[in-house]
Amino acid sequence: MSTGAGRSRSRAWPRLLAVTIVTVVLLWAAFTLYTVGQPLLGAIILGLATGFAVIFGSDRFYGSRFIFPGIAAVLVFIAFPVIYTIYIGFTNYSSSNLLTYPRTIEVLTARGTVDQTTEQPFAIAADDGEYRIWLPESGLLSDPVTLTEEETAALSPAPAPQALLDRREAIALRDGLSRLTLETPDGQLIRNAGLRSFALVIPDYVQTGPDQLTRNDGQVLTANHDIGFFQTEDGQAVSPGWRVNVGLANFERIFTSAGIRGPTVEIFLWTFVFAGLSVTLCFAVGLLLAVILQWEHLRLKPVYRVLLILPYAVPSFISILVFRGLFNQNFGEINLILEALFGLRPNWFTDATLARTMVVIVNTWLGYPYMMLLAMGFLQSVPEDHKKAAVLEGASSIRVFFTITLPQIIPPFLPLLIAAFAFNFNNLVLIFLLTRGLPDIPGTVIPAGKTDILASFTYRLAFDNAGQQFGLAGAITLLIFVVVAAISYANFVAMRRAAARRLGRSA
């Protein structure tokens, strides 16, 4: 022990140096986040930096060093986003209220109207790696500008420069031009007003006080921090808005607006049906196959086994898209075969019941191999002599299965079935790649489909093109969160029981 301790002491300074560097970098990141208006995230990083410095800097917390990375990853990437999602559920964050308050003021005050009467063409002259702007109509030439950053340059009367850049070279410089302000000799500020001209640009909004903007028509706008918009005197809101806390408004919308409550309830129920059916069918099919594969008189078992787990081996996003093509109503192979055999052409994607059936079929296809693999493992542990005894008593093989085998494999299976339920409860990939939640539920005010599950529903609310309603999506996520927490706890209890049973048996 003494040699180990001695070595670690002599090696202490490189460790302390590394800890200091990492801590300083983290502190810098925390401060930067604070300055760009993300105090919450900054505080998290600050906490992380402190924890890191204490645990790795001092010898007292040697054991905790091993756990720190895992705990930090879970806190930062799972706990924090979940809490942040819930927080967003209490805000009006959406495509109409996307920005922070300072950014909103910046965007509004940057808007301007071009004064047509002052508009005049321009040309650019190169000057030792810098540029000069030449206004031929008024005969003015600017001081040299770099056209790489926000700049202001004075104009003065001058003869026309000899070499002017041609049109294409001038267009390549338009980013720099858009940030350039020129000052005429009589004090007017003119700006780039399009590809070909400079003109006097009158700002639409000028900040005239805290929380107050004056529009160029004299109208005074006041910031309303309850709804996150600037409002005119008669209460009209001006876009864009910013994010504010709206309390329980999103939850009120979910529970009171019929256009939202209706589809939410329907999707909620379908999510349970979908997850339940998927788990049941996968379990039944997987177990049946495992039982057949376990039969001692069956030959070619390894071949069957490899072929049967193929659906599990292929990346799921590929399989799901393959089915999307095969089920295609007009030129999908499944409908071709059905038409040839029975003269049927089912509308897999437009009929609600058929679409839901298709989703369950595909999910069973994807999921049974997992259950089969597990069942093959668990079936091994069922004692052979129990079955033998039952058969000697005259029980049929089906009777043996239901009275001897099944009751013995259900307990260890239970936690895994609950986990599979939780997985399917949030099986966004399947729904999204196969149907995108379509067909739509009629009469809704938000995008909601017959095959949507809660997770895909919130995804569409947040990331579909039609109005990104992050706040509403966050509120629904909180509802899902409660359900998942309940499932998760049930699984925890089931896992504990299964573990206790295993221990009891081995003792």
């Binding site: 003494s2 180990g4 990141a29 930067t32 986040l33 760009v36 993300q38 995230l41 040697y62 054991g63 905790s64 756990i67 895992g70 990853a73 990437f77 706990a79 986003p81 979940v82 942040y84 964050y93 057949i292 001692e296 069956l298 490899v306 072929l307 049967l308 787990i309 193929l310 081996a313 292929v314 990346p315 996003f317 590929i318 399989s319 898209l321 393959v322 089915f323 093509g325 295609n328 030129f331 192979e333 071709l336 597990l374 493992g377 668990f378 895994l416 986990a419 949030n426 966004l428 990939v429 999204f432 919130t458 947040a462 990331f463 999506a473 996520t477 899902i480 998942v484 927490a485 925890f492």
Partner: protein, 296 residues
């Protein structure tokens, strides 16, 4: 086990094989169809199982080359499949190694080092493991949107951001490796401690070499999970050149531009390596799976 009458046994055997063969025909049908479609002419041409006019067009395009048709038309590849595949593999390998490092170290400490509140931490980990990252998509988007203002490396459309989020998949794997470490005899690390090894040295020279098989399983499982991820990648990645395979593959079957044939070739090309890895590793994966994982 039980003596059965030969006649019954024969009927049972025929029934079992018959059932399995019919079931296999249903299961393998999609694979055969995709193979057939990838050699067919056109992008949704109807045809028989064995293509009448087999063409390599879709395959040439999938490998990223221009294809010249018989009538002289030159077709360009619609999407950079190989680039997407490279992105997927890059992100998957880096995130997989990261997860492996964090999970192995954490699992070792949870299994062997005395820390106060360990039981509570383990219970919390188990509960958290059930919450998929997809629940926090809105927040993930908002967070990385904000981080992008600090540095574009951590912003939207960045692979670094994607890898960081994938590291949160670590909980499940901590659990798997811990189960393995728990089964290692305590006499081993006690002996190491008596010889003067620090906990880190015990981990590095005793546990790490022993853990290689389970680490391989965890890496493959994590890697497959990341390759298969659609929701997170689709939220974080926007531009075509940064896309992973799972996000990009969807573009082939757009309602307005339905490239069924090209998709088939690209799907086989990109799915084959992962499938082969999985089939080779399947024996070992079974144990990793039954320790409580669910395929993503």
């Amino acid at each position: 086990m039980i003596v059965e009458r030969p006649r019954d046994l024969r009927i049972k055997k025929i029934l079992a094989h018959g059932f399995l063969l019919i079931f296999l025909a249903l299961i393998l049908f999609p694979f055969l169809m995709v193979l057939s479609i990838s050699f067919r002419e056109g992008n949704f041409a109807v045809g028989s199982l064995i293509p009448e006019n087999p063409t390599l067009e879709h395959w040439v395009l999938a490998f990223g080359f221009d294809y010249t048709r018989a009538n002289g038309d030159v077709v360009s590849p619609p999407y950079p499949v190989l680039l997407w595949m490279w992105n997927s593999i890059k992100v998957g390998v880096i995130a997989g190694l990261g997860v492996l490092a964090i999970a192995t170290i954490s699992a070792y400490s949870f299994s062997r080092i005395r820390i106060r509140g360990k039981g509570a931490m383990l219970d919390t980990l188990f509960l958290i493991q059930m919450f998929p990252t997809t629940l926090a998509l809105v927040a993930i988007f908002a967070i990385f949107d904000a981080l992008g203002d600090v540095t574009p490396i951590l912003g939207l459309n960045s692979h670094v951001a994607l890898i960081l989020i994938y590291l949160s998949g670590v909980t499940l794997h901590i659990w798997t490796i811990k189960g393995y470490f728990d089964s290692i005899d305590r006499a081993l690390d006690n002996a190491a401690a008596i010889d003067g090894a620090t906990p880190w040295q015990t981990f590095r020279y005793v546990f790490l070499p022993l853990a290689v098989p389970i680490m391989a399983v965890v890496f493959v499982l994590a890697f497959i999970g990341f390759i298969n991820d659609y929701p997170i990648a689709s939220v974080l990645i926007r531009s075509e050149s940064q896309m992973t395979l799972a996000v990009g593959a969807r573009l082939y079957l757009n309602e307005f531009r339905y490239l069924w044939g090209n998709f088939a070739a690209a799907a086989i090309l990109s799915g084959l390596p992962i499938t082969i890895v999985f089939l080779i590793a399947q024996r070992y994966l079974v144990r990793g799976l039954s320790d409580g994982a669910v395929k993503g």
